[in-house]
Every structure is written in structure tokens, then in C-alpha cells.
Symmetry: C2
Subunit: 151 residues, 2 copies
Amino acid sequence: MEQYNAYSFLLDRTARRVKQYAQYQFNCQQFGITVDQWAILKNLNQHTDLSQKELAEYCGKDQPTLTRIVDLLVSKDLVERRANPTDRRSFVVHLTTAGKRKIETLSGEVNKIRMQAWQNLNEEDFEHLKRILDTIYTNLEIDNGSTGNLR
Amino acid sequence: MEQYNAYSFLLDRTARRVKQYAQYQFNCQQFGITVDQWAILKNLNQHTDLSQKELAEYCGKDQPTLTRIVDLLVSKDLVERRANPTDRRSFVVHLTTAGKRKIETLSGEVNKIRMQAWQNLNEEDFEHLKRILDTIYTNLEIDNGSTGNLR
DNA sequence: TCCGTATATTTGTCATACTAATTATTATTG
DNA sequence: CAATAATAATTAGTATGACAAATATACGGA
């Protein structure tokens, strides 16, 4: 039983290296953004004009974190906050022309960087990894709801 | 090719949930430390009286991060910095009595928390996960050394 | 319509990561 | 031995992550 604990260490360590490696390449190639900022841009490109709440869900970030990343993207003129006509509480996050250009310029390079991790691994490994990570993810739902699992 | 990019998102998301879930349980059960602080204590218990540099390597943390975590553990009286007789640049990090007691008290509970992730998964999954994560990890070595891979 | 509640965003605080720079000490080398 | 390089630890700055609280707005029911 005890040995199974190692997964948490491995996961943490690997996820950090993946991000660190990508950020290192981003810096070397002067992309001018962080890896997390890239994830936001990429999501915005696929689902245009999301509210920050929706964007946070797609990107797997919480709302305070997303607010701050959007702040940085706004200061870099890559996105802008637009009034949401149907709800004055929320904004719509909109890609600027510079933001779209950034995505076009970097997409291919980012793919290359991401694929470095996948050497010596194959399609089947990818399916295993997806399944295992998804299972862990759903195993650890923190349930505040009506099913009343844990406090 | 493009789809393989998803691994980075999955890894990051899963690692964050694993840590968040554990921290949530730590808080509920009033362990009085963070998940990362626990990892340091656990390592110190296995390899007594390491220097901060060695400890950082075992724990997979960088040195500035380790310095700060040790600061927090010192302020909680769980470890202390002792002079290293053979090298006045470095310290030896030593578990206090309270630190040892903390480890004994929490070990079983932490194991239970960690095992929650492993429902619906088996030994074979564990081996797959270990192998895949280790492969990714070594694929992404950032080599500043003599082999001269990338700038 | 008014009131209480829910929601979207923001702000604050603490902890963790990564980078770069600083300090004190040790090791190396001419 | 003296000058230089390398190393252990720290500090500073920025970004992210989690959680709580505050604010503004929307929604539901009396």
C-alpha cells in the first residue's frame, strides 16, 4: 500500500518538468508569454468570446487565477475585456488582432515543444495515461454537494 | 500530432487536484502543515540530517523553494538547522522531537488520503503510470551541460 | 416592486515555482 | 599563497494556485 503513495510525487514532479521545459523553450524563443497565458489564448481561439467563468472552466483554472492571467494578457494587448450585453456582472474576453497573430505565429512551435515529451512512447501509452489520469481526477472529486461524501 | 498536446493539460490538472485533495484533507483533519511540508518531513525521516541541497534533490524542489519550506518548518518547531561541521556554507536539517512525533501521528492518515486516488485502478496501471511519467521526465531533461543539445 | 439569495468578478493572503542576483565559504589553479 | 572559479544558502521579483471575503449585479418569490 505504502508504495502507491509515490504516484503523487511522480505526478507533481512530471507536471512541473513539463511546464518548466515548455517555459524554458518559450523564453529561449522569446514568445513573450507564459505557458499558462498560452493555454488561455488557445482556448479563446477555439471558443470565441467566452465569459471569464466559462474560460476558467475550459482552462481548468479557478476564477481568481484566471482574472490575473487575463490582466496580464490585457496588459500585453493580446485580449480585451468587453461588456457582456446580457449580464453586466460579467465580461466577454475577446482576442485582439495581435492576440490572433500571436496564436498563428506560435502554434507550430508550441506543438513541437509539446511533442518532445512523447519520445519513446506510443499511441497505446497515451491512451493508458489519459485513462489513468482521468480516473484519478474523478476519484478525487471534493464533494460539497448533496451526496454528502465527506464533510 | 496535435491531440497529443492534451497530455500537458491532463498532467497539470491531475497533479493539481491530487495536491488540492490532500491539502483539503490535511486542513479538515487539522494536520497543521501543508502537503509540501509533509513531503520534506517524510524525506528527512528516511535520510536523516541532510543538507538543504541534498534535501532539495530528494524532494524534487529547487533550492529557493526548499529554503522557504524549511523556514516554515523551523517556525513550527518541526525541524532545526544545525551547523555542518565539514562545510560552513551549508546547514544540516534535523528533525526535532516534535517533528518525529508529527510523522508518526500522521503517516497512517496520509496513506489513507493518498490511496483515495487509486480506486478503480490496479497494480498494472500503477506500473504503466510510473513508466510513462518517468519517460516523459527524462525526455525533457534541460541540458545545460557538455553535450550541448540546445543553447 | 422589494428582499433575500445566487452569481461573476475582483481583491487579499499565504504557499509554491522559477529565475537571477547576492553573500559567505570552499576548491582550484597559476 | 593569491586570485579565480565553484558551491550552499539566501533574497528579490514575477507568476501561479488555493481559499476567503468583498462588490456589483441578477434572479426568484412574496
